[in-house]
Each structure stands twice: as C-alpha cells, then as structure tokens.
C-alpha cells in the first residue's frame, strides 16, 4: 500500500495516472452519449405513449427526486431485496451446513434439493404465491429468499468441501478439538466463499425484487411502477422508474466488481 502511495507521489506517475483517469472519463461519456443517442432515435420512431425520450425521463426523475417519490419507490424495492437477501443468506448457509457437515449419506440425500432449487426458474412461484398469500410484502420477499438461498448454499458448500484436508489432518494429529477445527480452520476458510457468494447474489436479489413487483402488479416500488404506469400508457413514469432501477443496479454491480476482485485477491 505504502509503495503505491510513494509511486503516486512522483510527478511523472501522477501525470500518467491523471491522463489515464481522464481517458476513462472521456470513454464513459462517449459511451453514455452513444446510448442516449440510440434511445433518442428509438423514442423518435415510436409512439410517445410507449417510449419517451431521455430528456423527459431525466426531468421526471428530477421531479421525483424533488418531491420524494423516488426515495419512496426505491425504499420499497430495496426493503424487499434486503429482507430477502438477509433471510435467504441465513437459509442458504444453514442448508449448506446441514448438507456439508452431516454424515456423508445425509449430505448426498439432500444435495439434489439445493441444485434443483438453484436451477429452477423462481418466477413460477408467483401465481401460486398470489393465490396462497396474496400480493403483499411477504410473498415478494419469499421470492427473493428462494432466489438467494440456493446460490449462497452452493458457495458455502464449495467452501466446506475445499477445506485443506492435509491441514485438517495435521490439526487432528496435534489434538485439536472439534470446536477448534470449526473456529480455526473451517470458519475462516468458508467465510471467504460465503462473502463471494453474498457479493455476487446482491444484484440478483435486486433483480428478483423488481421482477416480483412487476409480476405481482403492485402499485409501489420501482417494478410496481414500471408495471402499473405501463398499463396506463404513462411511458414517462415507466422509463423514469427503469432509469432509477438501472442506476441502483449499476452501483450494486460496481460494488460487486470492487469487493469481488478484492476477495479473489485475498484468497490467492
């Protein structure tokens, strides 16, 4: 770390870095301009009931930011994603512990359940949940939980299964207790995998929350706004909600990229 700082202080390096950053900013601006142009073209060729242009959309987001609607919508969606994320992680870790640490036969009996849950398209649950518990907050969170848990379980299981057997045997040979094995070897090793899983599943939780809102057809939340305003042909509101969701998603992806890279580095 200190080396990096020292290097950055030398004037030549500073200039090169500034140039690099400047180039990236230009590149990003060019890309955004390209996308906005394409969007503008799309809006020009389509009926304005269905597609709005970028400027109107940004103005709508501005209005929502000013009157607080933006925060309300985002809060609803993020609350679902966060609740589902926390509960789903707990369920996933628990599942993996049961499958991974139980005697080998129990693990083999239960493991296909996790795989099936991982592979299954989660949205099939929506019509059934709708009839069963309605379209409130709980069924949407259930959907996020069902999406998050198998991913976390798979990562945790990978962690448990990749514990260094040689080291484990050495610890056993030196007389380590089960508790010591768990806290000194298994936990630190598996934590890395769990953290990686959590990081990668974070945007996924957000996506499932938005999708659940669209399918349940509620009136709040970003997905709910996309759906209900779409039914009313209010393209302005639809695109504004979509833009907010995209920005949040981009921020989450950025965090994922940063933390994920750091985790990968620390594991090596």
């Amino acid at each position: 770390m200190s080396i990096a700082i020292d290097r950055a202080r030398t004037p030549g390096m500073n200039l090169a870095m500034a140039r690099k950053v400047g180039l990236r900013v230009v590149q990003w601006l060019a890309s955004i301009a390209l996308l906005v142009l394409l969007w503008e073209l799309l809006a020009l060729t389509q009926n304005h009931l269905f597609v709005t242009d970028p400027l109107t959309t940004v103005k709508q987001v501005g209005t929502w930011l000013a009157n607080g609607v933006a925060w309300q919508l985002t809060a609803v969606t993020l609350a679902e994603a966060a609740c589902g994320f926390v509960v789903g992680s707990a369920v996933g870790i628990l599942l993996a512990l049961v499958v991974g640490l139980a005697p080998s036969i129990a693990g083999r009996v239960l493991e296909p359940g996790i795989v099936a849950l991982y592979a299954a398209p989660k949205f099939v649950l929506v019509p059934i949940l709708f009839v069963w518990i309605g379209n409130g907050f709980i069924p949407r969170v259930v959907l996020v939980v069902v999406a998050v848990a198998p991913v976390i379980a798979t990562y945790t299981l990978t962690g448990i299964r990749t514990v260094d057997t040689a080291r484990a045997r050495m610890m056993q040979g030196l007389g380590a207790s089960r508790r010591q094995m768990a806290t000194k070897l298994l936990l630190p090793h598996t934590m890395g995998y769990i953290a990686t899983g959590e990081v990668y599943v974070l945007p996924h939780a957000m996506f499932v929350a938005v999708g659940a809102e669209v399918l349940f057809g509620i009136s709040g939340g970003l997905g709910g706004t996309i759906y209900t305003q779409g039914q009313l042909f209010n393209a302005k509101e639809v695109f504004a909600a979509l833009l907010i969701a995209t920005v949040i998603s981009a921020i989450l992806s950025w965090i994922v990229g940063r933390v994920g890279a750091r985790l990968n580095r620390s594991r090596r």
Binding site: Q27, W28, A30, S31, I32, L34, L35, Q46, N47, F50, V51, I105, A106, R108, V109, P112, V115, A116, Y118, A119, A120, P121, K122, F123, V124, V126, P127, I128, V131, W132, T154, Y155, T158, T165, A166, R169, Y193, T196, Y200, V201, P203, H204, M206, F207, V210, G211, V214, L215, L222, G223, G230, A241, L242, A245, T246, S249, A250, S253, V256, G260
Partner: protein, 285 residues
Amino acid sequence: MSQTSGTVPKPLGQPAARGRRQVSRKARKKDRDLLAVIGWRVLLVAIFCALWQLAPDGVVPESAVGRPSSVASSFWSLLKSGALPTALGSTLLSVVYAMIIGAVLGIALGIFSSMPVGRWLLGPAISLLYAIPKVGLIAVFVILLGVERSSHVALVVSAVLFVYFYAIRQGIEEANEDQLNALRGMGAGRLTVLRKLILPSAVPQLLGATRIALPLALTSEIFAELREPSIAGLGTLLADSSQSLNGAAASAVLIVTVLIAYGLDIVLNSRVKGFTELTGTGLQV
C-alpha cells in the same frame, strides 16, 4: 526400485493401492450407499407428500397448491390432453432460439470489444446496458416486436447475451500469451488466432457461461410468459391454472418446470466441473 518406492511418502488424501479383494468390497459398499441414498430420498419425498396430503386446508389451501393425489391426476389429464407437452415444447423452443442468438451475439460482441476500437466504443456501454433490470424491458420489446414469440425471445436474449459476453472476454484475457505471440510471430492473421487459439481456449468459460445462462434463460422466458401470456408456454399454463383456482394443475406444471430445469442443469453440470470458477460472469439478468 521396488525397495525405495516403499519409503517414498504417499501424498495425503490418496488411498494407497489395495488388493483386488479389498477394492471389490469397497465397490460393494459404495453400491449399498447408493441404495441407501435413494431409499432416504424416496422416504423424504413420501413423508413430504403425506404431510402435504393431510395438511388442513386453512394452512395449505387446495385452491393454491392442490394435494398430491389431485396433482397426479391433473398431471395425467394435462399430459393426455396435450396441453403440457405443447406448453413445454413452446417454452423450450423460445429458450433454444434465445440461447443460440444470445450466445452468438454475446460472443461476437465480446470479440469485437477486445479489439482497440471495440474496447473504446463498447466497454462502458455494455456495463451500462448490463445494469438495466431486463424484467422492466418486456413492455418495450412487446411494443417493438409485437405480441409474439419474438418479444419473449428478445427479452431472454437481452439476459443471456451478457453472460456470454463476459465469459468470452474472460477467455480472451486468459488465452496463453506465449502461444498468442508464437502464432502472431509465424504470421497468423487475426481470424486464424481467433479460430486456432482464442475460441478453443475459451471453451471452459463458454461451457460455464451456458450453465449460468440456461437457468437465466428459463427464468426470463417464464417471466415473459407470466407477464405477456401471448403464446402458450409453461408460464402461461401455470398462470391460467392458478387464475381458475386449479391449484392441482398449477402444482403439476410447477413440478414439471422445476424437474426440467434440474435435468438440464444436471446434463450441463456433467460437462462443467467446478462452480466457483464460473462466478466471474455474474448472475444478474
């Protein structure tokens, strides 16, 4: 030789060579284990079905999920009437179309973006497009492409494309530098390098991408069918059953969908070894 080999320490975790008798006993034990595993699985499913069958209607309403007995009979009647096979075929057709288009587009874009011009043009643009929650786009696709299969396919393509894009990018980055230089030194053109080195060495990444993309494609297709039930599919059948409060039929379709997804994943998984190596391509739609 034979004397010294006895003193070489065996690597840990690898069983020492054993006599034939012991090996066969081990194989027999494995067989017994497999039987026990299958037995336990059957038992667990049976217990689950019994609880489901006997649960009071107030807790597990018949109209939402049916009962195992009625689910079985609905499954049979859906199968006989041809509704289920048609729906399954239709859903899988959309998924196959979208997987092919998505893979080709994603790989092409990935290769283009690894060139200087492409990197300049596409890098940030792709990350921005990747961030759009695709579930919000279904209405836009329906406007552009009409109430048809193509709008479903477009939604699924918009989801799986990025998985292949990031996979091929990773493959290109990890291609062997020395081989690349050697090929170039011997005068290989860009196309030859691509065909001889980049694509073959990216096969593991692309297989891994397929294992991520396929569940994603199914999820997106089911989503599209639930939101825009324009063509018959598993999602449409499920939504119709649920709306007419026919929980048994809904559960039958749900179980079939999950089993199909599971079966496809198993087939793919037998070709892809690790799971952790695939995570770089993300999971988001």
